[in-house]
Each structure stands twice: as structure tokens, then as C-alpha cells.
């Protein structure tokens, strides 16, 4: 574990939707400052349910979710498959300022200090120059960076990204995860990201959660130990070969001639 201060934890938690069947066996996971945790698993394995349970948005079926008691954990969130509604006439800055919702509370409106903070976060994702541009005019990768800036504007201690790169090309995906990784290092920010990209988890996560519904198992551990051919083949139910070469991770998935992804 890379960080020192624990932010939230699952203790023998069984996740699932109310009145529904359990999605996983009991799982324990602690997230500390500076951690980067990747969550991998096939469709329907409960990845989104797990992260929503971790941040207190969903109640567990059993077990304990540990959140700070003396204060509210500041969570930045980028939702799964967030497709911005292009009808909304919002500027990049106005979207970013939504991140102040929790800090401001009800009724109070953002002031100069909030705008300055939002602009600073846009600067950190390289989009300060586009603050006044319509949000819908940005590319998909830029919009995701704005949503990360919005999460940072919440002065988040924990950044949760649910499949943030699902609609991105590999270059934009790598750029976004590099950015998040850099922010985590410079701000001691904890990051939990859900992904289908094995190479992304291998390249950026310090720890991974493997959610395997077929084996009814959830494995938690260092990415260097769990992201290997054996685990990935079992997880996805088809032959997957993982090789590490010169600091990069190469992934072959059965049926492809070329590496499926690199990191």
C-alpha cells in the first residue's frame, strides 16, 4: 500500500442491489491516499456496484463500509459512459464549477474563489484556455479531462473514474490516465478506476481488484502480481497472454494476431 492515511474501506462486504442476489462473495479493500486501484472484470461482474458501494452511494448486502466519521469524504466522480448531453448550453467553466456543489451546499452560488479554483483545475488538465468554450464543442478526450477537472474542483481526496476511457482512442486513453496518474502523485490523491483495458490497469494501477463472477471470486492485490496470463485467462474466460517487456505490458487476446494493447 503506497499511501499512509486510509480514506475508505470495505470489510467483508457483499455487494448487490437491494432485494437482488449477491454479485460477489465477501470482499475487503482499503483505499489509502496516493493509491491507484484498477477494477477489472467482465461485463456484469459488479465493477460499478463495487465502486459505488465503496464511496457510500450503495448500501452493501452485508459487511461494513468504513468511511471517515469526523468529516465527509470528498469524492470526485466521473460516471460510466458519461455522454454529455449536447443540448445543454454550458461552457467548460460552468461544467467544471459544478464540482463545487458539495463544498457550497444548497442555495449558495459559486463566487470568485470558486471560479479561480475551477480555472486552476482546468489549468492542471491543460484546458484553461478553453474555459469559455461550449462544453459540447470539445472532443471526447477533452470532455473527459473537463470531467476530471470538475472532480478535482470538488477538492477530492478520492477520484473515482468508471470506465473513463471507454470511448477514447488509445492515444487519448493513455493521455488521460497519464494525467490522472501524475495528479495522484503530485497531490497524494487516491484514484479508483474501472476499466476493461488490461494494459491500462497494468500500466497505471498500483493495485487491482479482479471481479470474476464465473469463479465467484474477487481477488485484490498488487497489479504486478495479479495481472498475468493465468489470472486474465480465468477472468475473461478465454486465452489471454500477458507479457512485460521493457517496462511495457503486452496483452494478447485469443483470436488476434497482434498485441491487443500495450502500456
Amino acid at each position: 500500500m503506497s499511501g499512509s492515511v486510509p480514506l475508505c474501506a470495505l470489510e467483508q462486504v457483499v455487494i448487490g442491489h437491494r432485494r437482488g442476489r449477491p454479485l460477489t462473495p465477501a470482499v475487503s479493500l482499503e483505499v489509502r491516499q496516493g493509491d491507484i486501484v484498477g477494477v477489472l472484470g467482465p461485463n456484469g461482474s459488479g465493477k460499478t456496484t463495487l465502486v459505488k458501494t465503496l464511496i457510500g452511494q450503495l448500501a452493501p448486502l452485508s459487511g461494513t463500509v468504513r468511511l471517515p466519521v469526523e468529516r465527509t469524504l470528498r469524492v470526485g466522480y466521473v460516471a460510466q459512459g458519461h455522454r454529455p448531453d449536447f443540448a445543454y448550453p454550458l461552457s467548460v467553466l460552468e461544467v467544471t464549477l459544478m464540482g463545487r456543489a458539495q463544498a457550497l451546499g444548497l442555495v449558495k452560488r459559486p463566487g470568485k474563489a470558486d471560479r479561480a479554483l475551477a480555472l486552476a483545475q482546468l489549468e492542471s488538465v491543460g484546458l484553461a484556455a478553453r474555459a469559455d468554450a461550449p462544453f459540447r464543442s470539445l472532443s471526447g478526450g477533452q470532455q473527459q479531462r473537463v470531467l476530471v477537472a470538475r472532480a478535482l474542483t470538488a477538492e477530492a481526496e478520492l477520484l473515482v473514474l468508471d470506465e473513463p476511457t471507454s470511448e477514447m482512442d488509445p492515444a487519448a486513453e493513455h493521455a488521460l490516465l497519464s494525467l490522472v496518474s501524475g495528479l495522484s502523485a503530485s497531490r497524494n490523491l487516491a484514484v479508483v478506476f474501472v476499466t476493461h483495458e488490461i494494459s491500462a490497469a497494468a500500466g497505471f494501477a498500483t493495485r487491482v481488484v479482479l471481479m470474476d463472477p464465473a469463479a465467484k471470486a474477487v481477488d485484490v492485490g498488487p497489479s504486478s502480481e495479479l495481472i498475468n496470463s493465468e489470472h486474465m485467462t480465468r477472468l475473461y474466460g478465454r486465452p489471454v497472454e500477458v507479457r512485460r517487456e521493457s517496462g511495457r505490458t503486452l496483452v494478447w487476446v485469443s483470436g488476434r494476431d497482434e498485441p491487443g494493447a500495450t502500456a
Partner: protein, 285 residues
């Protein structure tokens, strides 16, 4: 008699139309962006059902539609109650995600329209059905003082509510999932906004009629979104175009002897057409 000389006749109806247009034009910003345009049409029908039920209930107590009624039996009370309950139900059922929102809205519209006909066909109020129909869906030419006061109250409520919670309404509309994580009480805000819409639709429908109310909620906001890409100009344009359609529509209907509500709607539709042409030209450049 010139238009100006007849001002004692049109002052109050015109003022009512302008107030309703301003409020509905503003709410239209959320209605269009949340894609609940037909919810307003359904709410008009549901509030109409409330009025019909009030008359039906009154008939059991021997109260004519033209007689003064106690507040708890007043058509406005029933219209507000039915519209609010309908809005809450629609909001809750839509949130359940098991039924599509358009199916829920269609069900509400059809059920309310059918029950209105059934209630009006009752022998207890059949003789007053024509007058009841006028009361159900308004008449923009003649607006009572009481309706003007109700519209003003609805306007003030909307103003206060949105002065307090505009930030929350916008976030919940744009990205409810993230808003919830960021601590915004999304269900409460949704219910507040729907109730606000229901109250305004119920009161405005009774004063102006269902067609202008539906039009003010959809057409100016739709045009404004084509005219501008900025939040404040879109909101201002939505209100402004709605008010112009109401005021100019009233004037034209008077001077050209045309149906008032229809002229207002036609003008609002023209704004959308102009905005559409502007947008088309911009895209072709």
C-alpha cells in the same frame, strides 16, 4: 373602438398572458433540456381532470359551476392537487427506469383525457359541460382577477425557488448521477422542479388554455437553444421570446380578430422557425 381605447377590456388578460409566458418560458428551459415536453401536455390534462372532478363533487352538494365554492372544493384546488400528484407520480415512475418516460407521460395524458370525458358526460354536470370545458382549458381572451393573482403567485414561487436552487436544478438535469455523488439531494430537487412545473401548468392552463401553455413551455426554449450556446442568453431569450409571443399574439389576435391562444402559439412557432433557419445558415458556412 381602437385597441388602446379598449384597454380596460384587455389589460388583465394581457398581463396574465405575459406573466404566464414569462414563467412558462423560463421553465421551458428545463422542460426542453430534460426532454419532458409532453409531460406538460399531460399535466394540463391531469389538472383539467381535477377541475372536472371538482365540479362533479360539487354537484353532489348542489353547487353550480358558477356559484362561489369553499376553497377545498374550488376547481383550482383540485387542479393543483391533481397536477401535483400527477407530476410526483410521473417523476417517481420515470425514476424507476422500468417504464420509459414517454410511455408514462402518454399513459397519464390518455387516462386523464378519457376520464375528463367520462366525468363531463355524467348527467350530474352535463348541462354545464360547455362552460366547464371553457373553465377546464381556459380562454386567453377573458381572464378573471383571481386567476391573475394566482398566476402572479405562481411566478413569485418560481422566482424564489429558482433563485435559491438554480445551481442544483441545473446539475441534477445535466448529470444526476454525479450530482448525487457530489451531495446534491437529486430526488428532492427533481420533485421540487416537477411540483413547480405542475403548479404553474395547472394555474396557467385554467387561465389561458392548454395549447398556449404547452407552446410557451416548448417553443421559446427550443428557439433560444438554437439562437445561442450560452446559458444566460438562452434563459433570457427563452423568457423574452415567450413574452413577445404572448403580448404580440394578443395584440394581433385583437386587431385581426383571430383566436388569441392560436395566434400566440403560431408566433412562438415562427420564432423557432427563424432560429432554425439561422442555425442552418451557420452550419452551412
Amino acid at each position: 373602438m381602437s385597441f388602446w381605447d379598449a384597454r380596460f377590456l384587455w389589460q388583465e388578460p394581457l398581463l396574465a398572458a405575459v406573466i404566464a409566458a414569462a414563467v412558462l418560458g423560463y421553465l421551458g428551459f428545463f422542460v426542453v433540456l430534460r426532454r419532458i415536453a409532453f409531460m406538460s401536455a399531460a399535466l394540463s390534462q391531469v389538472s383539467g381532470l381535477g377541475v372536472a372532478v371538482a365540479f362533479f363533487a360539487g354537484s353532489f352538494l348542489g353547487i353550480s359551476p358558477h356559484d362561489p365554492t369553499p376553497w377545498w372544493l374550488a376547481p383550482t384546488t383540485f387542479a393543483l392537487f391533481f397536477a401535483s400528484a400527477g407530476a410526483m407520480l410521473m417523476a417517481l415512475v420515470v425514476r424507476s427506469k422500468r417504464v420509459s418516460s414517454e410511455a408514462v407521460v402518454a399513459l397519464s395524458y390518455l387516462a386523464a383525457a378519457a376520464f375528463v370525458m367520462v366525468v363531463l358526460a355524467s348527467p350530474r354536470i352535463a348541462q354545464e359541460a360547455h362552460e366547464v370545458g371553457d373553465l377546464l382549458f381556459g380562454n386567453a381572451v377573458v381572464v378573471k382577477r383571481g386567476e391573475l393573482v394566482q398566476l402572479l403567485a405562481a411566478g413569485v414561487i418560481t422566482l424564489v425557488l429558482h433563485a435559491l436552487f438554480f445551481k442544483e436544478f441545473l446539475f441534477c438535469s445535466f448529470d444526476p448521477e454525479t450530482a448525487k455523488v457530489f451531495g446534491v439531494p437529486v430526488p428532492v430537487m427533481d420533485v421540487l422542479l416537477h411540483l413547480n412545473l405542475a403548479v404553474c401548468v395547472a394555474i396557467a392552463t385554467k387561465a389561458l388554455g392548454a395549447l398556449p401553455v404547452f407552446a410557451f413551455l416548448v417553443l421559446p426554449a427550443g428557439a433560444a437553444l438554437l439562437f445561442s450556446e450560452r446559458l444566460k442568453p438562452v434563459v433570457a431569450l427563452s423568457v423574452g421570446l415567450s413574452v413577445v409571443a404572448a403580448a404580440l399574439g394578443y395584440y394581433l389576435s385583437w386587431t385581426l380578430s383571430l383566436p388569441t391562444g392560436s395566434v400566440m402559439v403560431a408566433l412562438a412557432a415562427c420564432f423557432w422557425a427563424v432560429a432554425g433557419i439561422k442555425r442552418f445558415v451557420e452550419l452551412r458556412r
